[in-house]
């Protein structure tokens, strides 16, 4: 994939720590690829509907008390969040002199995001949004983006900087994994190290694939380290990746590896994941 293929990067904003990390990552990648940044804010229709129910009550975190949910007040708060998200986008984009737009939509969050991201080449969102459980696993929106999305998706989590740190690419000689390697090279920073996990098939093509990958990486001058693994399940793969302790995991959903393995890996891994399509 050549720089320029990704011209527009959509980023989901909801003012949560995950979405802030998403914005930062999107901005850095946009800066490297000279892409445009599109901020998306969805006013959750579920929230508004709930406020309309006669018994709607909110449990307030700041006071551990309950209070009546007022629809007008809720709308005002959502507008406030939207403004905050817009300002955050503006500040981040202007600091890197990026072209940027901001859109506010109302509806079911996953659907609205998917439809808004249709026009973009990449969607960046947090692994989980403002979910109640602060869960480690994927949030509903992220899951929808993975399962139903047609664009490249970056699932971010706080504490990582995908463009500056090391990158890890899952490579199995497939066309999808070649695209993943291509994308990883495009977004790698000057100091980044590229870890390549070659998933050796039983056919013994692992060495050939490593050579092919090396031929791709060499002209870019990026430091690369190669690891070979037999085909294993998603959990084992996640454990191995943790041992390498790399940063962003780059893979494709059109690989030779079983789809269930990939899904398990993405669900379990506690690193940001870029799924190239």
């Amino acid at each position: 994939m050549k720089p320029g293929t990704i011209r527009t990067i959509a980023v989901a904003l909801d003012c949560s720590p995950h979405s802030r990390a998403s914005l930062e990552a999107a901005a850095r990648i946009a800066s490297m690829l000279s892409a445009e940044l599109v901020g998306l804010f969805v006013e959750d229709i579920n929230l508004l509907r709930m406020a309309g129910l006669p018994f709607a009550e909110e449990f307030r975190l700041y006071s551990s008390t309950t209070g009546k949910l007022d629809k007008e007040q809720l709308e005002r708060l959502l507008r406030l969040q939207a403004r905050e998200a817009r300002e955050l986008l503006q500040r981040t984009a202007e600091a890197l002199t990026l072209r940027h737009t901001f859109r506010v939509m109302r509806g079911m969050v996953p659907e609205e995001l998917m439809s808004a991201a249709e026009g973009a080449d990449m969607l960046v969102l947090g692994r989980s949004g403002r979910s109640p459980s602060c869960r480690k696993r994927l949030g509903s929106t992220a899951r929808t983006a993975l399962l139903e999305g047609k664009r490249t998706v970056l699932l971010m989590r706080p504490g990582f900087s995908p463009a500056a740190g090391p990158l890890l690419v899952l490579f199995d000689g497939s066309e999808g994994s070649t695209r993943a390697l291509d994308t990883a090279m495009a977004i790698a920073g000057p100091e980044s190290t590229l870890h390549l996990i070659v998933v050796d098939p039983e056919t013994g093509d692992g060495d050939r694939w490593e050579k092919e990958a090396a031929a791709m990486i060499e002209p870019s001058g990026i430091d690369a380290e190669y690891h070979h693994l037999p085909p294993v399940g998603g959990n084992e793969l996640a454990r191995y990746i943790r041992m390498i302790d790399s940063g962003l995991l780059v893979l494709s959903d059109h690989m030779k590896l079983p789809e269930s393995t990939l899904r398990e890996l993405v669900n379990d891994i506690d690193y940001p994941v870029l799924v190239v399509r």
Partner: protein, 811 residues
């Protein structure tokens, strides 16, 4: 009555014979100095320095320039090497009460060592602690604690979510918290749909939601507890990691200072504080605000304000002290005595910490001796009270004057007082000593010993040699040429002249030192390799010349007869008295004309000076004595029927002292007797009611003042001065006067009684009464008695004539 004999040249000046010295120049002397002529003061110093009890501090009193300070320091410098060296003192941070820094006592030389050790500890910790906290083990453990909290929270909420979902209810995050809502096919049910549900369905949903809300509330109530537990775990981890990193370094310090339990307690406190504040040691980039405020490290390696608390402020370092310290504080201001707490400006605010505590002279002298100038001490505001308080309480408590008197209001400290064990030596004038004794009740309690320095010492061969040694050591110390023995002898003679006594030597060593410097200057100018008597004399002459402007102007006025002084004729009721003027450190004599006039009256002697309040009380007393003398001698049996007036002619500035009373009496006797007084004489001496002439001061200056005038007018052999016989031992006259006396051009007459003086002055015998009390015919006394009797008769006749006429007698 035997007539007085004029003094021989030998009696006018007591020479010091250079031959009595065995050395050629002072370079042959060993350079040692000994304190001569101050035995009384030395005994007092020895006693005060030897006694260990409180309050036996010393006040060295005496005139300025008598070598009080040198004597005290000389004694102390011999005393201190054998005394024990006092301990070091330092201030450290008080972790319990930061406003009250702790004072630590350490054996000599160890305070600086401790200071360096603490600096090294901080440097080492800045490397060790960040390394410990950036280790992989720590990071993963920290992450685990965070994750565990998140997980605990997540599991509970997820279970609730699951529970809710089973009843078609969703837990939704709102901008301010959580809310429950019924769902259908993954979406929150619309309000109108909900309202169209059957009532029992609605009630069921609502009841379910109340149940879930209770569960949520109980979860939320537990979250702060989980958070506390997590924070506590993290703290414990941090304590363990910091403690482990710190242990070997602190262990070394504990071992090194194991003999100092007080310090070990401080090291324990440091250890606890470092563990509690480990994050300060973790490297981080200072924020712009920190840099601006100066609180962050300004450059790599420089530690911020926080680390100040682990430092040591060494107040007293005795690592290079030999024996007990001797401190001479030249500027005894309060802060210089008891120390001070300085402040630094930070963003326009004054801030301070224990490292800004500054030691004072009392700290430096603790365990030794502190020498202070009393006058300077008393001139400094609050210094005397501060010193007394320190001596009385036996501790040094540093208090900021500005804080104490509310002149400024800023953050300040109250350092722990340091115990004080010091001997104070005050040096000052006698007047100060007596004033303090009279007006300060504390003074006699705190300064029980007085070392009273003599102004003069006996003149004898031992003290001549002591003078020579003093001059020799001075020459070495001040890098002067060596003095030959002639020069030493001349300085000794001058020392005698300064004492105003041929049998004494001055102890005003400052004057002698100044003369030595001047003699050295003249010797160098004259190309001498050693200082000779000529150079010393040149120095003396130059001193006189420099200060003789007014003396010469007065003499010039006399030469022009602007000031009338007769030195050649004979006049009735007129005499040359002698006065001394003191200007700065020099004094000179000058003749003054005194006249007396008599008339019939009631026996009183009128002192015109007193009438116009230009005469001092002693002068007035002298004049009143004259009335007593006249009445007792000539009018014991009858009224004294005359009135006399006495005046210092051309006196414009007042008269004090009784040294002119004999001259006034001579003038009076001349006026009554009608016998003229020889004006080529001048007279000095006081007189009592029996007609005995008594000693006066400044005899040398008075004689020289009259001699100079006569010499300028031309000496003819008649000129001379009458002095009291008791002043003969004070004579140390100039060489030119001695020569004039030798050549018979000038004479000095010692007089013990008025009758002797009047004979010399009139050339007529005074006369002694016979058995019947009658005076010999033609004598001065007979003439006076006759005149008084005649006046009495005249007065009687005058009074009876007026009585007959019935007129009152005019007064």
């Amino acid at each position: 009555m035997s007539a007085p004999v004029k003094l021989s040249p030998r009696q006018l000046f007591t020479r010091c014979d250079p031959a009595e010295f065995t050395f050629e120049t002072t370079a042959e002397l060993d350079g040692s100095t000994e304190i001569a002529g101050q035995q009384r003061a030395m005994e007092a110093i020895r006693f005060s320095m030897g006694i260990g009890h409180d309050g036996f501090n010393l006040f060295a009193l005496g005139s300025s320039g008598t070598g009080k300070q040198s004597t005290v320091l000389h004694y102390l410098n011999h005393l201190v090497p054998d005394a024990p060296c006092p301990d070091d003192w330092c201030y450290v941070y008080n972790f319990d009460k930061p406003r009250h820094p702790r004072a630590l006592r350490l054996p000599p030389g160890r305070a600086c060592e401790l200071g360096n050790d603490m600096e090294h500890l901080i440097d080492a910790l800045l490397g060790v602690i960040p390394a410990a906290f950036s280790s992989e083990e720590y990071q993963s453990r920290e992450k685990e604690i965070h994750e565990s909290f998140q997980e605990q929270q997540g599991v509970a909420i997820e279970a609730l979510e699951q529970n809710a979902r089973e009843h078609d209810i969703a837990l939704i995050r709102t901008p301010g918290g959580f809310a429950f809502a019924p769902i259908r096919k993954g979406e929150v049910i619309k309000p109108d749909e909900f309202m169209s549900l059957k009532e029992d369905e609605r009630e069921k949903i609502e009841a379910e939601m109340i149940r879930l809300k209770d569960i949520l509330q109980s979860i939320m109530a537990q979250i702060p507890k989980w958070q506390r537990e997590s924070t506590e775990k993290l703290k414990e981890l941090n304590r363990d990691v910091a403690g482990f990193a710190l242990k070997p370094l602190i262990g070394e310090l504990r071992m090194k200072y194991a003999d100092l339990p007080e310090l070990i307690r401080h090291i324990d406190a440091i250890e606890n504080d470092i563990i509690g504040n480990f994050e300060q040691f973790l490297e981080k980039e200072p924020s712009a605000q920190e840099l601006f405020m100066g609180s962050g490290p300004a450059k790599p390696g420089e530690k911020g304000r926080f680390f100040v608390r682990y430092r040591v402020n060494v107040m007293i370092d005795n690592s290079h002290t030999n024996g007990a310290p001797v401190v001479l504080e030249d500027k005894p201001a309060t802060q210089n005595l008891i120390g001070d707490i300085e402040h630094t400006a930070q963003m326009g605010t004054l801030v301070t910490d224990f490292t800004l505590i500054k030691p004072g002279a009392l700290h430096r002298a603790n365990g030794g001796y502190l020498v202070l100038d009393a006058r300077r001490l008393l001139l400094e505001p609050f210094a005397w009270e501060a010193l007394k308080k320190a001596i009385r309480t036996r501790q040094i408590r540093i208090e900021s004057l500005a804080q104490l008197y509310s002149l400024v209001s800023t953050v300040s400290l109250e350092p722990e007082p340091i115990p004080l064990q010091v001997k104070i030596i005050l040096i000052g004038e006698r007047r100060l000593y007596y004033l303090l004794s009279s007006y300060d009740p504390d003074f006699s309690e705190l300064f029980k010993v007085a070392a009273d320095f003599e102004d003069e010492m006996e003149r004898n061969p031992e003290n001549h040699l002591a003078y020579a040694r003093l001059i020799g050591s001075m020459a070495v110390r001040e890098k002067l040429l060596p003095f030959d023995r002639g020069a030493v002898a001349r300085i000794i003679e001058h020392g005698s002249r300064l004492a105003g006594d041929a049998t004494k030597l001055t102890t005003h060593l400052q004057g002698i030192c100044d003369l030595a410097h001047e003699a050295d200057y003249h010797a160098v100018q004259n190309g001498h390799e050693q200082i000779t008597a000529t150079d010393v004399q040149a120095g003396i002459d130059a001193q006189i010349r420099r200060s003789s402007r007014i003396q010469e102007r007065i003499r010039e006025a006399m030469m022009r007869d602007t000031l009338l002084i007769d030195t050649s004729s004979e006049k009735t009721g007129q005499i040359n008295g002698l006065a001394v003027y003191s200007l700065g450190d020099r004094s000179f004599g000058r003749p003054s004309r005194i006249t007396a006039r008599v008339r019939m009256g009631k026996g009183e002697v009128i002192d015109i000076e007193r009438e116009v309040e230009m005469g001092g009380p002693i002068h007035s007393k002298g004049v009143l004595i004259l009335s007593g003398f006249l009445g007792a001698r000539y009018a014991a049996e009858r009224p004294l029927s005359l009135s006399a007036t006495l005046v210092f002619e051309q006196s414009y500035s007042g008269v004090e002292g009784d040294s002119a009373s004999s001259a006034e009496l001579y003038a009076l006797l001349s006026a009554i007797s009608g016998l003229p007084i020889r004006q080529w004489f001048a007279v000095t001496g006081s007189v009592n009611q029996n007609g005995e002439v008594q000693a006066i001061g400044g005899v040398n200056e008075k004689i020289e003042g009259f001699f100079d005038l006569c010499q300028q007018r031309g000496l003819d052999g008649r000129h001379g001065v009458l002095i009291p016989v008791s002043n003969v031992t004070n004579l140390m006259l100039r060489d030119d006067i001695v020569k004039a006396v030798e050549e018979g051009k000038f004479s000095i007459w010692p007089v013990s009684r008025i009758d002797e003086g009047i004979e010399i002055l009139t050339g007529v015998p005074a006369g002694e009464p016979d058995a019947s009390g009658a005076w010999p015919e033609g004598s001065v006394n007979a003439r006076i008695a006759c005149r008084i009797e005649a006046m009495a008769k005249k007065l009687k006749a005058f009074v009876s004539d007026h009585d007959k006429d019935g007129q009152a007698m005019p007064c």
